[in-house]
Every structure is written in structure tokens, then in C-alpha cells.
């Protein structure tokens, strides 16, 4: 029970801090909006081919916004060395990991919620699909992305050039998530034949399990003082 209380305390602290200034959230939202508009210039929304790449456009936008948010989750703890303060408490290191994952997920979900309609509007994409399944896909994909991303953000925070390093080390690792997310979104939006939705979802679940478990085990090593 203490485990959960401590996670709640950290998540609450992170969210309250963020909502005081809303620096990160606004940066992520504006960036998403920028991506939408730039892609709209790059890929003429009227063409049939754009419909085919639409799921890809969505996930590129979400990925870049997510990376932006990931970096700050540990950089904020470097001010005043508050990460040390956290590590001195009776909380397990894994509490810190899960709390940061949850905090980042909440931020990303907010960005997705707000930016999703914008994608459909700017690309004149007719909505034809199941919202619950799309929500499931977003949940599983962001979970995988953020769980490994948070872990690598903690790793990168230890280095001098963390903002540049983070995208470089995250993208090779999240390739499976991006592929699975784009493919399953394409199926749900009807751009592609119904075929393998189940297999993609299974892949996402497999990825989520592995990349929650492995960081959980290795997190202590990343946080060493």
C-alpha cells in the first residue's frame, strides 16, 4: 500500500509542478500542431496517397511530442539535486520509475486527446472506425513508448548532452512500437484490409510486458549515485 501512496505522491507532485507553468504541456501541444501543419503542406490532404500515410503522420507527431516531454521528466529532478532527495526516502527505486512513467503517460494522453481531432480536421480525413479500439491501440502504444522512453530519459539525464542523446537512443528501441501502432491504426481507420489487427495488438502487449519488466530490473543501475 505504501508503494501506491508513494507513487501517487510523486505523480501528484510532478503534475502539480507541470500545471503551475504548463511549460512542457504547451510546448508539446504547439509542437504537435506544428507537425500537423507542416505535414499538411508536405502531403496534400486531397490526394489518395495521403490517406494511406495518414496513420504514419499521426504517429510521427505523437512520437516527437512524447520525446519532448520525456526529457523533462528527469531534468527537473536535477535542479537542486531533488533526485537525491527522492533516493534518500524509504521508497524503492522502482517507485520512482513507475511514478515517472505514469506522469509522462498522463501528459502524453492529454496531448493526444487534444491533437487527435486536429489531425482529422487538417487532413479532411473521414472518421470511419471504432473509437474503443483506437483508444486501445493508443493506450498500448504509448505505454510501450513511454515505459522504455522514461527509462532511457533517466539514463540520458546522467550525461552532458541529454536533450540530443535521448532521441538517438530512444528511436531504435521504439521502432517495433511505431510500426505496430501505425499498422494497427491503419487497419482501424479502414485504410488497410482488416487482416492482422490481433497480431499487432499481441506484439504491442508483448513489447509492453518486456519493456516494463526489463527497465524495472535495470532501473537501480541507472540511478546509482
Amino acid at each position: 500500500m505504501n508503494f501506491l501512496k508513494q507513487i501517487k505522491a510523486i505523480v501528484w507532485k510532478d503534475l502539480v509542478s507541470e500545471f503551475r507553468t504548463k511549460e512542457m504541456l504547451s510546448a508539446m501541444l504547439i509542437f504537435s500542431f506544428l507537425v500537423i501543419v507542416i505535414f499538411a503542406f508536405a502531403f496534400d490532404p486531397a490526394r489518395e496517397t495521403t490517406r494511406a500515410v495518414f496513420p504514419g503522420i499521426i504517429w510521427v507527431g505523437i512520437s516527437f511530442a512524447a520525446i519532448l516531454g520525456l526529457n523533462r521528466s528527469f531534468v527537473a529532478e536535477k535542479e537542486n539535486d531533488s533526485l537525491l532527495g527522492l533516493m534518500l526516502t524509504p521508497a524503492d527505486r522502482s517507485v520512482i520509475y513507475f511514478a515517472k512513467v505514469i506522469g509522462n503517460l498522463i501528459l502524453v494522453w492529454m496531448v493526444v486527446l487534444i491533437s487527435m481531432p486536429l489531425y482529422f480536421i487538417f487532413f479532411n480525413f473521414q472518421w470511419a472506425g471504432s473509437i474503443p479500439i483506437l483508444a486501445l491501440i493508443i493506450f498500448l502504444s504509448t505505454l510501450g513508448f513511454i515505459s522504455v522512453g522514461t527509462f532511457l530519459a533517466a539514463l540520458a539525464a546522467n550525461t552532458r548532452t541529454s536533450e540530443i542523446l535521448l532521441p538517438i537512443i530512444v528511436f531504435p528501441i521504439v521502432v517495433p512500437v511505431i510500426i505496430a501502432a501505425v499498422e494497427s491504426t491503419a487497419i482501424v481507420l479502414g485504410s488497410v484490409a482488416h487482416g492482422g489487427l490481433m497480431s499487432w495488438l499481441m506484439l504491442l502487449i508483448l513489447y509492453d510486458v518486456i519493456f516494463l519488466a526489463v527497465p524495472f530490473v535495470l532501473f537501480d543501475y541507472v540511478l546509482e549515485v
Binding site: V16, S17, S82, T89, P90
Partner: protein
């Protein structure tokens, strides 16, 4: 209260601590001095259970420190030259956060209690980023004693403090000492150390080279002794 036997710490190629034996009784106030790089902060980190020694045994409150270290951290408080505080939150929110992490009982009363002790009662609702250095350190003290730790570690607490803040820090330390709290302080400010503590230790190149009662020496004699010990290096 704290017993360290044969503590040895190696980081990469360097031997930071080469066999430290230290025994602190409950309620004892120990000041640790030594040149930069001698291993003082590393020793503090090991005793505060932030990091593990490469070899040696550590016992706190009679219990050996092993991998199930998390629960034991509740007995420890640490004050460093960094405040461990969150700039965007208010003083109250910062204390409440740490109180929740340490599962402190009667959190609200306790917060009011410690904030009074450090004289920041009028700044409870102010965000920490507006605090001066002295106020930051005082709030940091409040944070460290909030969960009523049995042992307090201080790493160069006087750095950058004004007289007012120094006064408050000394007042708090004096009171903690009277309440039989064990205190381990690293500082370069040996005059404060000599005045406040029961025992003085000098660490040089990873070993304890001097250990004695603080009252034995006056400040000038101590300075002489210190320079001898560390071979004229400051």
C-alpha cells in the same frame, strides 16, 4: 548507533575509501574534516545508505545494512548544500510531499512544527523559487527533520549562508543534539565544528587520520594539527 567496520569503496580505478572504522554512539555529534577529494562525501553517502560500500560492514541502530535498505532510510535525514527542493512548489507542498514519502504521522501538525523551528512560518505558501539562499537552506533543514530522523547527516551545510541562517542552523543542531539525535557533519568550517560537536575526525586520502574529542583543542591548535595531518594541503 552507527557502526562502520572496514568500509572500503572503489570507483572505477580509484580507491576512494581505504578501510574506514567508525563508531558513533547515539546522541553523538561528529564533525568530519579533510581536504577535497579525501572521501568525506563518499563516506556520507555510504552511511546514509545512498550507495553501497565495495567492502565492509555497516550497522545502523543495531541492524546490519544489506540490500533491504529502503525501510531503514526512514531513520536518516540529510542536509546538503543542494536543497533537494522543488522550485515550482510552495514550501508547504514541498514538506507535504516529503512527509508523504516518509509516511510521517500527523503530517500537518509536524509541518507547522518544523516550519516554526526554522522561522519560515510566513513563507509557507510561497513558491520555493522565490526563496533566498538562506531561506532555502532553512527549508531544507525543515525537510530533513520533518520525519524526525534518529540520525542527521550534513554535507557542508554552512556554504553560502548568511549570519541569520547560520544562527538558525546552529540552534537547530544544538536542539537536536540535546534531543539525543546522532549527527554527522562534514564541513570546512572547523570553528563551528569544534564548538558544536563531541568528536572531530579528519579524513585524508580515504583513511581516518585523526579522531578525538572536540573539547581537547582550541581553534588555533586544531588548525596547526590539521595542516600537519594533511601535509600542508588545504
Amino acid at each position: 548507533m552507527i557502526k562502520a567496520e572496514g568500509i572500503y569503496k572503489r570507483i572505477g580505478n580509484k580507491e576512494i575509501l581505504r578501510g574506514i572504522d567508525l563508531h558513533m554512539k547515539e546522541g553523538e555529534f561528529v564533525t568530519v574534516l579533510g581536504p577535497n577529494g579525501a572521501g568525506k562525501t563518499t563516506l556520507l553517502k555510504i552511511l546514509a545508505m545512498l550507495t553501497k560500500a565495495s567492502a565492509g560492514k555497516l550497522t545502523i541502530g543495531g541492524v546490519t545494512v544489506d540490500d533491504n535498505v529502503a525501510k531503514m532510510r526512514g531513520q536518516i535525514g540529510v542536509i546538503s548544500h543542494n536543497s533537494f527542493l522543488y522550485d515550482k512548489l510552495t514550501a508547504f507542498e514541498n514538506l507535504r510531499f516529503y512527509g508523504e514519502m516518509y509516511q510521517t504521522n500527523n503530517l500537518k501538525e509536524r509541518i507547522y512544527q518544523v516550519i516554526d523551528e526554522v522561522g519560515l512560518q510566513y513563507s509557507l505558501a510561497d513558491p520555493v523559487r522565490t526563496f533566498s539562499r538562506g531561506m532555502l537552506q532553512r527549508l531544507s533543514i525543515a525537510r530533513a527533520i520533518l520525519h524526525d530522523p534518529k540520525v542527521l547527516f550534513l554535507d557542508e551545510p554552512y556554504t553560502g549562508l548568511d549570519q541569520h541562517a547560520i544562527g538558525i542552523l546552529n540552534k537547530v543542531l544544538f536542539k537536536l543534539n540535546k534531543d539525543k539525535r546522532t549527527i554527522f557533519m562534514i564541513t570546512h568550517n572547523y570553528e563551528q565544528g569544534l564548538e558544536l560537536s563531541d568528536k572531530i575526525i579528519i579524513i585524508y586520502k580515504g583513511k581516518i587520520t585523526y579522531q578525538d574529542q572536540a573539547k581537547c583543542l582550541g581553534p588555533r591548535e586544531f588548525k596547526q594539527l590539521y595542516l600537519e595531518q594533511v601535509g600542508g594541503k588545504q
